[in-house]
Symmetry: C2
Subunit: 178 residues, 2 copies
């Protein structure tokens, strides 16, 4: 299963794609979409949307993992973040990719086994999990996007294991009732 | 000049298109995009975006007028509103239509000559300005979208008049300097 994580922002949007094969996670591609050179508003959003669509078409992820936001510095920054998030949501709908949302502490818990991990700790664990070379430099938003992808692949694997385990658990129960 | 006003919302997005010929404003088309039947998130946003693109392609507006929001009931509702607004912004960028934003009290002032006009007063003035038959029933968001279009057409006309007036004012000044 291939998962694309997205950490949206109106100025920097981080993205990261990983391939999950059982418990083995492999880094496929990651980076940032930067819009500071464009005027605020429609053109920035279009760049984010067009880049995400191009990345999806190139890497064909099976699922998208997006950060669920609860807080913002101000109403205005909540509007800006909502606008950027919407570009990821629309790209997922355009390409019919299932979208999953995770709260920041869920992501930290999944990646660093600690819900209040710092950015540096998350980045260290992302690089270890994906066996990235020490020389690789990940941007903060890129690392967060990969962490979102790792978080979802772990969740998806757990759900799949539960699906396998459940019929076996239910089997005897059904059998006993007969 | 043809202006499209948009009052975005994640559940109801109002839209209205008017034709401005000098001081005469004519209603072209208006309505609402409703998404309550769809699950929250990507699918709702896609419906808003796809409908706006179809309306733009059908009516070919020269400008888009969007409400500039400053307040929201909560951070969550600011995110939702930002997401819906982003669909209008992206549609404008996709079709290379210039986007203008107006604060709610600017719109009320332009339409009802009173910055704190109530919804009913705005609707009454929208219908009178566009000479709509009393039998026509406008939804609230549809009326707000038409008010946004009226507000921009007035602003655009004023700017055009200033452009005509300025060379005449500057003419004598340049002549005197010679």
């Amino acid at each position: 299963m291939r998962v694309m994580g997205i950490d949206p922002g109106s100025v920097v949007t981080g993205w990261g794609i990983i391939e999950a094969s059982g418990a083995t996670l492999t880094h496929v591609a990651s980076g940032t979409i930067r819009t500071a050179s464009l005027p605020r508003g429609p053109q920035r959003l279009k760049k984010i949307h067009d880049n995400l669509i191009a990345l999806i078409d190139e890497h064909r992820p099976d699922a998208m993992s997006l950060e669920r936001s609860f807080v913002a510095a101000s109403v205005q920054s909540a509007f800006r973040l909502g606008e950027a998030r919407a570009m990821a949501m629309l790209a997922a709908a355009d390409r019919e990719i299932e979208l999953f949302e995770y709260a920041p502490n869920e992501v930290k818990l999944a990646v660093a086994a600690f819900g209040h991990a710092e950015k540096g700790q998350v980045k260290f664990m992302v690089m270890r999990t994906l066996r990235l070379d020490d020389g690789v430099e990940l941007a903060d938003d890129e690392s967060d996007a990969l962490a979102l992808a790792i978080c979802h692949s772990g969740r998806a694997r757990m759900t799949a294991m539960e699906r396998i385990a459940q019929p076996a658990r239910r089997g005897p129960a059904r059998w006993m009732r007969r």
